[in-house]
Subunit: 329 residues, 2 copies
């Protein structure tokens, strides 16, 4: 049975949605959750029925969202530190945390360690597309200043992930650039282009719009650009719906029209782009599995982050990454 260490104290809303998410996950799948945090608080939130279906590891400290990620290594009594240690010590297969993402990435990288051939792990996120599928964008925040070698590894890791976990046998991998032509790019991507050219699924440069077309499976970029594009995409989405509401409010026919569209259009769309549907972003390139969930995760997001951890572990994606990269090394 797969063992998933869960930072029970992380996240903006404390342990409540985390425990609820674990319970929801247990209702659907078999796995052993190892809840790390304040034992009393966890037990007070956990329905009696589930107490013998989980393990609890006590942790007295919580890393706050406002804390510096660099201090994470010293906070050895924190829930996230202890959850990561369980993976390091092979007492758990994966860790899920909605807590301080910088701290989780730092700890996962330094305490669990990197895979062979990987210089830096990357945070990978799933973006909705017009085809209903999701594209994988990496890195979206782990490595702010990338080298061409980093981007090269990201491409291989993305291909391996999409093949192993998402079951797409021939994924297309694109390098995010300021134009589709081979000659486009900045100094970093031009060098990375040459390295990625050896990757089976490499289709060359792609543009921002290709993230949402469903034509490209993996979009490779540095963590600075990736983070900005992620927040830009969220910003555009939020701005469009804010503007729409402003206009709807001004007209009675529009109000009625919006009501008629609500269930079949707005609710369905919301579900389709809801980040809780995926639950979190895997940190690819570590010698284990870490799923980083958003601080504002609800129970559903936690449940889906756990499912992601299960799929990750069961699909042997790390072995695939190693195999792909050792061929090229």
């Amino acid at each position: 049975m797969v063992k998933v260490a869960i930072d029970a104290m992380g996240g903006d809303f404390g342990p409540e949605p985390v425990i609820e998410g674990v319970v929801q996950a247990l209702e659907e799948k078999q796995f052993l959750p190892i809840l790390v945090g304040d034992r009393e608080e966890i037990l007070s939130l956990l329905p009696q029925y589930y107490t013998n279906k989980v393990k609890i590891v006590d942790a007295s400290d919580v890393i706050d969202m406002a804390d510096q990620a660099t201090n994470a290594l010293k906070r050895k009594e924190s829930s996230i530190y202890k959850a990561v240690e369980l993976v390091r010590n092979k007492e758990a297969d994966a860790v899920v945390s909605a807590g301080h993402s910088g701290a989780t990435m730092t700890l996962a990288t330094l305490r669990i360690g990197r895979l062979p051939h990987i210089s830096k792990p990357a945070l990978a996120t799933f973006m909705p597309t017009v085809k209903g599928s999701r594209s994988l964008v990496l890195d979206v925040g782990a490595v702010t200043d990338c080298t061409p070698q980093n981007l090269f590894e990201f491409g291989y890791m993305g291909e391996a992930y999409v093949q192993s976990v998402m079951g797409r046998s021939h994924p297309k991998v694109g390098l995010l650039s300021n134009g589709e032509e081979d000659s486009k790019g900045n100094a970093l991507t031009k060098e990375a282009f040459k390295l990625l050219d050896g990757l089976d699924g490499f289709v060359g440069n792609v543009e921002g719009g290709d993230i949402f077309s469903g034509e490209i499976d993996v979009i490779v970029t540095d963590g600075f650009t990736g983070n900005i594009l992620l927040k830009t995409a969220e910003g555009v989405q939020s701005a469009i719906f804010t503007l729409m509401k402003q206009y709807i409010r001004k007209s009675l026919p529009a109000k009625i029209g919006a009501l008629m569209m609500k269930k079949k259009v707005f609710t369905s769309m919301k579900k389709e782009v809801d980040p809780a549907e995926y639950g979190g972003a895997p940190l690819l390139g570590i010698n284990g599995c870490a799923i980083i969930s958003h601080g504002s995760s609800n129970a559903k997001a936690i449940k889906n982050a756990i499912f992601q951890a299960l799929r990750y572990t069961e699909s042997n994606v790390n072995e695939r990454i190693e195999a792909l990269l050792s061929e090229k090394a």
Copy 2:
């Protein structure tokens, strides 16, 4: 009277929308258009009434969208080369082109020349916000590999533009980064942050979402990231409306609802985010005025690009840029 050189042959649809845009502009404002291109073709499209309201400069060559920008300097008979030369020779105050944007930027930079204290010109674009105002994002494609000094100048140029042309006396200038905290950024933005700190309106790091909030007037970024975020924003917008249409098509009540929302919501929104409302992006930092319009510009876009050129010229924005930067030099 302001003299505007117009590349009559540029753009995906040839001279027709360009000439129509010039006519529309002449109906509203007084200025002298200098149409550069095939005289016969221009005259065949220009209503008789306007023939003595324009000047025509013959040009036998057109730089195609597929041509290399680097060859632009050799194509001395091309419409864009000749239009730019008119500004260089002070026979025109501004140039407007919907042709090859790389060629236009190259020619404007090298033939018209840079302002004192400016190492590289920047392409600035206007983004819609939820407050109805527009934010100015620069650079969106002129300088792919930027130095901190470039970003510093972009900040000053953006502030000067928003003050002079958009009439906002105390604009807020933000540096696009992967987080709001001062400590965030990549190697480039961290250095640029220190330089920009001396700018009156500098508010520090901003994130992708701040482009659309209406709280920040000027967003500074390198041309690689700026170009990617622009295309990402377009991609998200297009994906949302594509998804929406897919869902609407599946339900009769939703179809009726959409019809009721059409005029007051969708048409109004479309107008609000329509790039033709601005018509083009000014290239800031040259010793003159160049407005770069999209290749797919319609007549309205050309008209608004001309109006932008008029406002640019009349507001003395270049003097303001020089004044701001010579204070700091």
